[in-house]
């Protein structure tokens, strides 16, 4: 368990490295920037890991994902992310098993509380990650959300 855990942290670091390279998770000037196509087109966690960059994220109890364990429909899954970490500057929501893993990023300027809520689509049951950048360091939380099938068959 310990070993796989360390490995996981490294891979998460790689993901962050790629997202940074793609130019996202930079606070403040997002609105003036271009949409980060490269980051939003990342297909698989595998690809992210292959492109492993520097830096590592720490799992942190200070980052919380507010979401149900089970969603009745994958088209709308309420997800909130809150960070208690000082100087939180940005928050990203990622869904491991979606066709594109990155769902949304939020830049949190000074004066804005580090908590956002939105609703996302999930193609299937998956782990959802919240990544937080605070004072130049990275933190994350993970939560599995199950997607259930409807009864009448579409």
């Amino acid at each position: 368990m310990e070993q796989s855990r360390r490995e996981f942290l490294t891979t998460t670091g790689g993901l962050l490295g790629l997202l940074l390279a793609a130019g996202f998770l930079r606070p403040q000037e997002v609105a003036a920037e271009e949409w980060n196509q490269a980051a939003f087109e990342i297909k698989k966690m595998d690809d992210l890991v292959k492109l492993l960059g520097g830096g590592a994220a720490r799992e942190s109890a200070e980052v919380t994902i507010v979401a149900p364990d089970i969603a009745e429909n994958g088209a709308v899954v309420p997800v909130g992310v809150a960070s208690k970490i000082d100087k939180t500057a940005s928050i990203a929501i990622l869904v491991e098993k979606n066709p594109n893993v990155l769902a949304a990023t939020f830049a949190i300027p000074q004066g804005t509380l580090p908590e956002v809520q939105t609703r996302i689509k999930m193609a299937q049951t998956s782990n959802v990650f919240a990544l937080v950048k605070a004072d130049g360091k990275f933190y994350y939380a993970a939560k599995e959300i199950k997607i259930t099938l409807g009864g009448c068959g579409g």
Partner: protein
């Protein structure tokens, strides 16, 4: 033209809670129509929220944000009577801005 947003902004002391519903289909580009042809992607990419000229939140979204998107957050420094302005831009270059007075 894009339909208007529904914005709520409520001050509790110095903290303003903002809730926004946007009217947008948020089409992923991965779905097919009845005839089996792909439906082109159409989704909001950029969102910014300002109060008195100051950006209080900016976001970048992919097509995995749900249709008719919902966004909620809080910021410091706004007061009853101030205006909050929300702007979105989608991948086809369409955009929409709406304003609300903080209650």
């Amino acid at each position: 033209m894009a339909n208007p947003m529904k914005i709520r902004a409520k001050a509790d002391g110095d903290v303003v809670e903002v809730k926004v519903l946007m009217s947008h289909i948020m089409e992923t580009g991965q779905r097919k129509n009845q005839a089996g042809e792909p439906i082109p992607a159409h989704f909001i990419q950029m969102v910014s929220v300002t109060c008195k000229g100051r950006t209080v939140l900016s976001a970048q979204w992919g097509p995995a944000v749900s249709a008719n998107p919902f966004l909620s957050f809080k910021f410091n420094g706004g007061h009853k009577g101030d205006k909050v302005k929300v702007t979105w831009v989608d991948n086809k270059g369409d955009s929409r801005s709406d304003e609300i007075v903080i209650a």
